[in-house]
Symmetry: C2
Subunit: 264 residues, 2 copies
């Protein structure tokens, strides 16, 4: 029997994820993170709700506690950063501690690093060998960019912080993820200011708890406007909500422009 779509929506617990961004350089403002937004889009497309992100420093106890709190609270946890060869790359050992397992040299990771460095004039020294370490029981995540792998243990996926490498790692692990119903979205753009549409928008939201409506004002070419984003896992409900928001915009003298997705 097909689930019936009502204006209150079907209630199914979403599949959720948490991203943990590890690195002093993000908190000091040295490095502008872009991994969160990229992962948010990719996970949403897979039917996984990015429910939370945390940015934490290179402090072992903080990493261990955060990994344990987040893996208990969410279906999937993705970490970025801290898996290179230097002393401040402590993610692997902290994740091992969080799971209460030893950090071991992973034979397959070692083989890949040996093969990689054999083809170069770079030595696989003690520091670089640290990149072959993974918690006992972990599964590797391929790194087609620079070889040193990430790993998965339980529901935690440990990835590099460099965006190009992180993205390549995610492409390789994507098939391991099982999402729920994808969150669909549509954007209604209008040149009404946010405060003009707020009341009617709130009324639609109040009557349709099965959708989420976000309001994002902008100021462009000397005029105010608002992008109204409607999100739902239920296509029929999404249609109805978009129609109602469009009707409200027209009633207020605006001209709604509907786009798929929630970009710009």
């Amino acid at each position: 029997m097909a689930a019936e779509s009502t204006d209150t929506g079907t209630v199914t617990a979403p599949v959720t994820a948490c991203v943990i961004i590890i690195g002093n350089e993000i908190l000091s403002g040295r490095t502008q993170d872009t991994n969160l937004a990229w992962l948010g889009k990719e996970l949403t497309a897979l039917g996984i709700r990015l429910a939370e992100a945390r940015v934490i420093p290179d402090v072992p106890a903080v990493i261990v506690d955060t990994v344990n709190a987040c893996r208990a609270a969410h279906d999937y946890v993705f970490t970025t950063g801290g898996i290179g060869p230097t002393h401040d790359d402590i993610t692997a050992e902290c994740v091992a501690r969080a799971f209460g397992v030893p950090l071991l040299q992973n034979p397959e990771a070692l083989r890949r690093l040996q093969a990689h460095y054999a083809n170069s004039d770079i030595e696989l020294n003690e520091a670089r060998l640290r990149m072959a370490n993974a918690p006992e029981g972990a599964t590797l995540i391929d790194n087609p960019v620079s070889t040193a792998p990430g790993f998965q243990i339980g529901n935690v996926f440990v990835m590099a912080g460099v965006p190009r490498i992180m993205q390549a790692m995610f492409e390789g692990l994507r098939h391991r993820l099982v999402g729920g119903a994808p969150l669909l979205s549509r954007t209604i753009g209008c040149t009404l200011p946010e405060g003009a549409v707020a009341k009617d928008l709130g009324a639609v939201q109040a009557e349709m708890p099965g959708v989420e409506i976000g309001s994002y004002p902008y100021y462009s070419r000397s005029r105010f406007g608002t992008n109204l984003v409607v999100r739902s896992t239920d296509p029929a409900l999404l249609d109805r909500a978009v129609d109602r928001v469009c009707a409200a915009v027209r009633r207020l003298g605006g001209e709604p422009e509907v786009r798929e997705g929630e970009a710009g």
Copy 2:
């Protein structure tokens, strides 16, 4: 008596802050946050350590719990987002709930909004009046860009999400913040790959716990390089650590380039 600087450094508890970024649009990847990096730099310059950031959705219970966890754990908490006129702008009411106080119409905020809209053809309607609400006992944070104020209650500073407005609000509240010793930093750039310098760098770090050394590899103009960032609140200790890192780089055949701060 002046504090004496040793290689292990003086141990004083840093003044810490947490940033809470509120908004579904950050987690969905619709909006790329830039407030975190901006605040990280500003706070660091004030001698306040940004120790943690959390990105959370527009869900009341999550906002309330996160505000309470973070304000207990840190000297200062800064929130961004969720203080506009629409139904998804729920930060003020959630912060009031977190503090266990009522959300009231703030007379001074009302006066400012009335004066602002009196000079325009825009109506101060019910939705826009929500922007005059603040928790009982809160102090306003000026908004020189678009009038609707933020507020401070206890150690929590509630600011807008739009970067231009958030930055203007921060400029106006900066004088309320009391930092500790500023975290000084210097960057040693070199064209050695990270894995080559890792061992010697780790030795310096191990012997000098009063500094923090970060290693940030880059790939530019077809060559690998590493920026080594040394951070400390102790200027003399910073000097010595930078000298030791430079010596290590030279020993490994590199040519260190020292810059103030930790940019690029």
